[in-house]
Amino acid sequence: MNRIEQRLNQNISNGVKSFITYMTAGLPNYDTTKKLVKAQEEAGIDVIEIGVPFSDPIADGPVIQQASFEAIQNGATIDKTFAMMKELREENVNVPIVFMLYYNTILHYGPEEFAVQCKACGIDGLIVPDLPMEEQDELKTFLSDDTILIQLVSPVSNDRVDQILSDAKGFVYCVSSMGVTGQAADFHKEVKNYLSMIKSKSKIPVMMGFGIRDAKDVSPFISDIDGAIVGTHFIDLMRTSNYDSKVASDYVTKFKQDLNNTNK
């Protein structure tokens, strides 16, 4: 079974909500990224999203744009990100890891070769924000259950939801606001109805992301989701703490605790 499915399903069985963070690969360098992955694994993170920096991140707000830009300036590339992943797996890091990246990076690499590398480097899933279901065939041909393509739904997906869910694996990524990442808790006005609609339809875990900073941001929706995803806020936190592992692991520990206390 895929590591993401295994972890999230186990959490559901145990009545535990899951937590996912996002960080940009190679920000400020790969050693730091590795150190932060390890610290979070130890703190009990469920899945880590690693952003592969791209020159034109159209689904991201200013914070992740800037993170992406700086990582590229510091030399981050897809090849180096694969190499880092390989090392992490060799160093017995077993936390489920998802790549968040834009389709051009995959297309340029070659979708077939890309899928092979993902499997070889232990990448459990992919989130490709500019690849709606209509455009996924080219990539999916080459993916196996080792690396699953995570489906995103938005508050305005409406009549598209059934078809998106019919093909979803791992978890369904519920985008909670319109626009881009990092708009502090400015959720869509219909977010509650939307989340409960998705939850009622989905056979797999439902994760909420975009604009979340701490567990109380999602507490009004806790019964409709299986967990939360934090990206922009986590990057801000890492920057202001000068990428301190202790700050990362404390944040993960606290978020998971609060998430599950809200739950009780």
Binding site: I58, T77, P132, E134, S154, P155, R160, M178
Partner: protein, 395 residues
């Protein structure tokens, strides 16, 4: 895969899930509109009474004499606001109105599409925001002033290369957030489907008129049709009615900047690989890691690392040929047209003129070609002056 979104293997809808239903709504409204005689009548009313169409197909006599073939210029520079961009803006803004949208947003490079959109927004009483790269704001001050006079808000985009590519990124980001009440007017033949189709539809008036006008004078089709290509809006409009006329040679002229070999150019067709940017799959300038490369051209309107998907298809299917001319060749042609014909073309359009003069060597005196003079050079006088002074230019 949504086949109708594709031109061969190019095109598609590479946008976030939250925009997919928006694109569907735009597509449905667009298809309905262009089959509604009332809509098309209104569109053509504004093209005639407001834009001043039809534009002349001018026989450039002195240029033709010098290059020993018949050169006709399709005078899109005579349109209201100074370029072909207004054709498409009026089509899209009428569509926006029909869809009940009260606000429009646009990206702009040289500022021509921004000015056209601000103009259309003023005409129809809509709120207008234009995204423009910080670098372009500096080199196209006059157009920034015009947009502001027209009541538009110009947002300076400071990310990436601070030019058209980044302005488009920011427009797409904003659109994803505000699509419920806002229409995004894309100015070039790029973007996710149906945008490339819409832009072609609303720009095809260029070739419809030119074909008829050429028949009136020459009694036949032209041998060659030529236009400059950045994203490809004037060229797709100039080609549209000739694509099915297999005897007419179609040539798109990209910007070779300082020279293809220097790496500082904007020739996606010459050196790009298929890639995905701004919601479409097409030829794209990229580095070895799959990041989008900065384009370079003295002309802000051609300074774009990609190209419209139908052009990519026309190239692959060999229906059209794509070539490139350098900054220097374009500026020489600009001066030559100015002195020989008394027409100061936009630097973008001067690229097409430059290649027309080169290509004329392959033609006889009785053959003819139509060159799309997509815009006038008023907006470029500072760049031209700096260039002539040997001061170089921004970018």
């Amino acid at each position: 895969m949504n086949q109708k979104a594709y031109y061969g293997k190019f095109g598609g809808q590479y946008v976030s899930e939250s925009l997919m239903n928006t694109l569907k709504e735009v597509d449905e409204a667009f298809e309905e509109a262009i089959h509604d005689p009332k809509f098309m009548e209104e569109f053509h009313y504004y093209l005639k009474q407001y834009v001043g169409r039809e534009t002349p197909l001018y026989y450039a006599q002195r240029l033709s004499e010098k290059y020993k073939t018949k050169i006709y210029l399709k005078r899109e520079d005579l349109n209201h606001t100074g370029a072909h961009k207004i054709n498409n803006v009026l089509g899209q803004i009428l569509l926006a109105k029909r869809m009940g949208k009260k606000k429009v947003i646009a990206e702009t490079g040289a500022g021509q599409h921004g000015v056209a959109t601000a103009t259309g927004a003023a005409l129809f009483g809509m709120e207008c925001t234009v995204f423009m790269g910080k670098e372009d704001i500096a080199r196209q001050k006059l157009n920034v002033m015009r947009m502001e006079m027209l009541g538009a808000k110009v947002v300076s985009v400071e990310s990436g290369s601070n030019t058209l590519k980044d302005a488009t990124n920011e427009a797409i980001r904003t659109w994803a957030k505000v699509a419920e009440d806002t229409f995004y007017i894309i100015g070039s033949a790029v973007g996710p489907y149906p945008y490339p189709k819409m832009v072609k539809e609303f720009q095809s008036v260029i070739s419809r008129e030119a074909k008829k006008q050429h028949y009136e004078v020459e009694g036949r089709l032209p041998d060659v049709v030529m236009a400059c290509v950045g994203g490809g809006s004037n060229s797709i409009g100039m080609f549209a009615d000739f694509i099915e006329e297999k005897d007419v040679k179609l040539i798109g002229v990209e910007a070779a900047g300082k020279g293809i070999e220097t790496g500082e150019h904007a020739s996606a067709m010459a050196l790009g690989k298929p890639g995905v940017l701004h919601g479409m799959k097409s030829y794209l300038l990229q580095d070895e890691n799959g990041n989008v490369q900065l384009a370079h051209s003295i002309s802000a309107g051609l300074d774009y690392p990609g190209v419209g998907p139908e052009h990519a298809f026309l190239k692959d299917s060999k229906r059209a040929e794509y070539v490139a001319v350098t900054d220097m060749e374009a500026m020489d042609a600009l001066m030559e047209l100015t002195r020989l014909e008394g027409i100061i073309p936009a630097i973008e359009s001067a690229h097409a003129v430059a290649y027309a003069c080169k290509y004329a060597a392959n033609m006889t005196e009785n053959q003819s070609m139509i060159v799309c003079l997509s815009g006038r050079g008023d907006k470029d006088v500072h760049t031209i002056a700096d260039y002539l002074d040997g001061k170089g230019y921004l970018n």
